[in-house]
């Protein structure tokens, strides 16, 4: 499924930068003997940007190149935006022998989370997407009969995942869009750390940060207002670790944001309770999965789920 890259950003990157003026930052960073390098690009169906700081610009560039390579490897395994990814091939064939490690890691996490949430999080909701997308194109909602038929193809127990082979029951299609951006943040960050980068900020659609801004101030993360485009609802700072946001506004099918790209696997409709959820966690994969699960579970059950995860916290924004 290709979707246009017109995602409104959940979180506004290193938003402190806009406030002070880049020149002042560069001066203060230079005092500390640090330079920073940023590389932007496209990936995972959105814009991505990797920032790293350190004393040696050559080492920074090398680390960022490796970071992008890690991102491409995750894309090649689990992106639905690439028709040649392992996941796309799995969906077409229903079976994939010798799947890449990234895909196994993503899918194993997805199935574990599905079990823990009693199926509220479900990686097999992919068939709902074309149904809703097409209906929205006509200006309506899917026919109830078509929706019922589609629901029969959904269920996380229809997926058998092992390191040697992944098998889907006939008609099943898997999406990892709820996890892959967070997972990519993990992988990129791991590569940067291995290269000895102590200060970095990673935006793969979800966010990860380590250390501090080269000028010595902490990284800060603005959380977008789910209703007012471009406005910041809250600022997380100092920010280290990982954060992921799920919202009803990314890819809304209806102007009131009632129908959007997150589905309740039991009904085939979008969950009604929340406008957006931001989860901070020690890993991007965990943060990303929890934020989507919380959207489906609602505030009460979602809060309970997050409370059970070490080092995690959630912020909820109700629908107006």
């Amino acid at each position: 499924m290709t979707a246009p890259v017109t995602r409104r950003r959940a979180v506004l990157g290193a938003c402190g930068l806009a406030a002070l003026g880049a020149a002042a930052f560069r001066a203060r960073a230079a005092e500390r003997g640090l330079v920073s390098r940023t590389r932007a690009g496209l990936g995972l169906g959105t814009t991505v940007a990797l920032t790293a700081a350190g004393p040696d610009p050559v080492a920074l560039e090398a680390a960022l190149s490796e970071g992008f390579a890690a991102l491409r490897a995750v894309e090649a395994a689990g992106s639905l935006f690439r028709p040649d990814s392992a996941l796309s091939r799995l969906n077409r064939a229903g079976r994939l022998d010798d799947p890449p490690d990234h895909l196994v890691a993503l899918l194993t996490h997805a199935l574990t989370l599905a079990e823990r949430t009693g199926g509220a999080f479900d990686p097999t909701v992919q068939p709902l997407w074309p149904l809703w997308f097409e209906a929205a194109g006509r200006g309506g909602r899917p026919e109830p009969a078509a929706l019922t038929a589609c629901l029969a193809r959904i269920g996380w127990r229809r997926v058998a995942c092992a390191p040697e082979v992944i098998v889907l029951e006939p008609g099943t299609e898997v999406t990892l869009n709820a996890l892959v951006q967070g997972y990519a943040a993990d992988r990129v960050m791991a590569v940067l750390r291995a290269r000895g980068i102590a200060d970095a900020f990673v935006d793969t659609g979800e966010f990860g940060a380590v250390g501090a801004h080269p000028d010595g101030t902490p990284w800060r993360l603005g959380i977008a207002d789910p209703r007012r485009e471009g406005e910041v609802a809250a600022v997380l700072g100092p920010f280290t670790g990982f954060a992921a946001t799920s919202g009803d506004y990314h890819m809304a099918f209806s102007p009131d944001f009632a129908d959007h790209h997150i589905y309740d696997p039991r009904t085939g409709h979008s969950p009604r309770g929340l406008a957006s959820v931001t989860v901070t966690a020690p890993s991007g994969l965990v943060a990303d999965g929890l934020s989507t699960a919380c959207m489906v579970l609602g505030r009460e059950k979602g809060a309970a789920l997050v409370a059970g995860e070490p080092g995690c916290a959630a912020r909820f924004a109700e629908k107006a």
């Binding site: 506004l12 990157g13 590389r39 932007a40 690009g41 814009t47 940007a49 471009g230």
Partner: protein, 706 residues
């Protein structure tokens, strides 16, 4: 004497060697730094796409990034050869909604702009694309077409004298933008590099009704009532004079290159003719208007221009309009074929490069335009469309990867190649058999003049196969810099000629080309022949001057090659020492200094025979230098040659015979004059003398030494 078989296998080997060097397509060369120069901050050049040579240009917004444009080089996606075979390279920025942000010329070799017009009109031409949408076909109109009322959304103003060049540029822009749009913007299927062709042997006899029933021929009928309904609320009055249920327009739509459709609709003969004209990989869409033909709504009626991209009908796929141009097939009477309803019709050609996939659903859209208001009328348009879905089994899909476009130009030019081969096939035995036509002092000069006329008219003007030092420079450039030899393949006649010339060089030396196959050389010789009645006296260049002048051409050549290898911008202007482009390629239609130079050389030739060839020509110098590889001393000599006989030396118009009688093959143009003399007992002095001495002395036979 080596037979022609050796020569032929020589060409084959050369072609193979060249093919081994050839890259599948020319590739863009811009680095990240170059791209950053074109998209300066606050724009950010993102990481290059890992699958397509496309750079995302990003804009930072509140701490995160948005896509501003996709930047790419047209040559990576649509290397369409321009004048002389070199594809233009354009830097194109396409915004995410499919409109052009910017188009810039990176490089081109279009002579009409490089000299004469200058590059400014070209730069102004490509600026017109900014703001236009790649979703629509864009046509090159006449100069000032937009001011003259052509749609500014779908027309760019053309440039007088540069129709062919602007069309190449337009095609490069559209085809590359389409490929990127399909690959990056998610328009339609990502069928980049995919060629989908109808299976030629799959043909079924079907009536029009059966075709309609299967949906293989589609019908787009708009009734008066439907049109009225579509324009409701726009302030346009009722449409059509007839009853509400009468058809306002009625179109039959069919993809003709599918044999089960085209053969049944057109009949065997016309289908075969169409397929021949269409060429493999391209597609033909028939649109037949069976509605009221005199209605202003008839899209193929009076407003339709033969051979144009129709204004009111469009073929689209996946939300993108596909460039479809009327083939201007001969209209014989009103009807297209028996069994089809009468009416106006058009056959639209879709180029293989358009990325059109006939096995996927495609749409024909008809635009109905109405005017609102009486005085300051305003045009209001409504679209009506019909979708065609053909079964995939009708087609074969070939991933076109690795197959470069150059095969097309070889297929398209086979008649030229055939004539060229015939010419060479005639020339070789005539030159090789010295006691044949060459020995005939009366008929051989006539043959020579006729052959030179064909060299000038056919090789030069018709086939545009004047070999040039520019090609040698291109080779040097490829060896030292680009490593891309593909440019050679786009000009089949020249390549064949090069192969022949290299082979003849090894056998006979430079003369075969310089004396027989160089169109400018032929032009000089014919001019000199025509000037004979003028009684112009040739100026004899004294040896002390002749020798350094001969060396001049090597100096010119060395300078040119050095400048080229070093990548100096001087190389191209210095190459203008060669007047071939002016005289042959551009037929003297060029700015006056160039014309004066070329004409001057021809006038010089009347006084100093082939002065340019002997003293200046860098191509001649190249061939003369390489001619040292020559295997044969093919001009027969006698012991008396030089001592005492000086006849051939005096008669040689090229000064290629030393007073000793030795032949200087690097200066020999293979005119055969001396060979004719030596085989003519009435001219060859030693033989004449021998005959006078009656039968006592047996004439020594002429021997061609190896």
């Amino acid at each position: 004497m080596r037979g022609p078989g050796v020569l032929r296998s020589g060409w084959a080997a050369l072609l193979l060697v060249l093919a081994a060097f050839v890259h599948p397509a020319a590739a863009g060369e811009l680095t990240r730094k170059d791209i950053e120069k074109n998209f300066p901050p606050p724009l950010v050049v993102g990481e290059r796409d890992d699958r397509l040579p496309v750079w995302p240009i990003l804009k930072q917004q509140a701490g995160s990034y948005e896509v501003f444009a996709y930047a790419f080089e047209s040559i990576d996606f649509a290397p369409i050869p321009g004048f002389g075979g070199t594809p233009p390279d354009l830097l194109i920025a396409l915004s995410p909604d499919g409109t052009f942000r910017d188009v810039k010329v990176l490089s081109h070799k279009e002579p009409v702009f490089l000299e004469g017009l200058g590059s400014e009109p070209l730069f102004a031409f490509v600026e017109q694309y900014a703001g236009l949408s790649a979703r629509q076909p864009i046509r090159v109109g006449r100069p000032n077409a937009r001011a003259g009322g052509a749609s500014p959304q779908t027309t760019v103003d053309g440039i007088a004298m540069a129709t062919a060049s602007t069309r190449t540029i337009n095609q490069s822009v559209l085809a590359s933008a389409l490929a990127v749009a399909r690959g990056k913007l998610g328009f339609g299927a990502a069928n980049l590099g995919l060629s989908v062709q109808a299976k030629p042997d799959l043909s079924e006899k079907l009536s029009l009704d059966a075709l309609l029933a299967r949906g293989w021929v589609r019908r787009l009928t708009v009734t008066n009532a439907e049109a009225t309904k579509a324009f409701r609320g726009t302030g346009v009055g009722d449409i059509g004079e007839g009853a509400p249920d009468d058809a306002l327009t009625d179109l039959y739509v069919a993809l003709l290159d599918v044999p089960s459709i085209g053969r049944n609709l057109l009949g065997e003969a016309r289908f075969a003719a169409l397929m021949r004209e269409l060429g493999p990989g391209n597609h033909a869409v028939m649109v037949l208007s069976a509605g009221p033909s005199d209605s202003p709504e008839n899209p193929l009626g009076e407003s339709f221009v033969l051979g144009s991209v129709p204004e009111r009908i469009a073929v689209s796929q996946g939300g993108l309009v596909v460039n479809a141009r009327d083939m201007a097939v001969e209209r014989r009477g009103a009807g297209l074929a028996e069994g089809l309803p009468p009416g106006d019709w058009a056959i639209l050609r879709i180029d293989a490069a358009a990325g059109f996939d006939p096995s996927a659903p495609w749409t024909l859209t008809e635009k109905i335009v109405r005017e609102r208001g009486q005085i300051l009328s305003e045009k209001i348009a409504r679209d009506f469309s019909v979708e065609t879905r053909l079964p995939g089994e009708l087609f074969t899909k070939v991933a076109a990867e690795g197959e470069a476009d150059w095969t097309e130009s070889w297929r398209a030019r086979w008649p030229t190649l055939l004539v060229l081969a015939a010419m060479l096939g005639l020339l070789v035995p005539v030159l090789a058999r010295q006691k044949g036509l060459v020995a005939d002092a009366r008929r051989f000069p006539a043959f020579r003049l006729a052959f030179l006329a064909v060299t000038l008219g056919f090789v030069g003007y018709a086939a545009q196969a004047q070999l040039s030092i520019v090609t040698v420079m291109g080779l040097v450039r490829a060896v030292f810099r680009t490593h891309d030899f593909a440019f050679l393949l786009y000009d089949p006649p020249s390549l064949v000629l090069w192969a022949f010339v290299l082979a003849s060089l090894v056998a006979w030396g430079r003369g075969t080309f310089c004396g027989w196959l160089c169109p400018f050389g032929a032009m000089q010789e014919l001019a000199a022949f025509l000037a004979k009645p003028l009684k112009i006296r040739q100026i004899a260049v004294p040896p002390w001057l002749d020798r350094p002048l001969r060396l001049t051409k090597y100096v010119v050549l060395a300078g040119l090659l050095a400048a080229t290898a070093a990548g100096s911008p001087l190389a191209d202007p210095v190459a203008e020492v060669e007047p071939f482009k002016t005289a042959i390629t551009l037929s003297f239609v060029r700015s006056w200094p160039f014309v004066a130079y070329a004409v001057g050389l021809i006038v010089l030739n009347l006084f100093v025979y082939k002065g340019f060839c002997r003293y200046l020509c860098p191509l001649g110098a190249t061939l003369a230098a390489m001619g040292r590889l020559r295997l044969l001393n093919w001009i027969p000599r006698r012991a008396e040659c030089g001592t005492p006989c000086q006849l051939c030396k005096v008669r040689c118009r090229y000064g290629a015979i030393a007073p000793t009688g030795r032949i200087d093959y690097t200066e020999c143009f293979q005119c055969m004059d001396c060979v004719t003399i030596i085989h003519d007992p009435g001219q060859c002095v030693p033989q004449v003398v021998a005959r006078r001495h009656a039968k006592r002395i047996v004439p020594r036979p002429a021997v061609a030494a190896r």
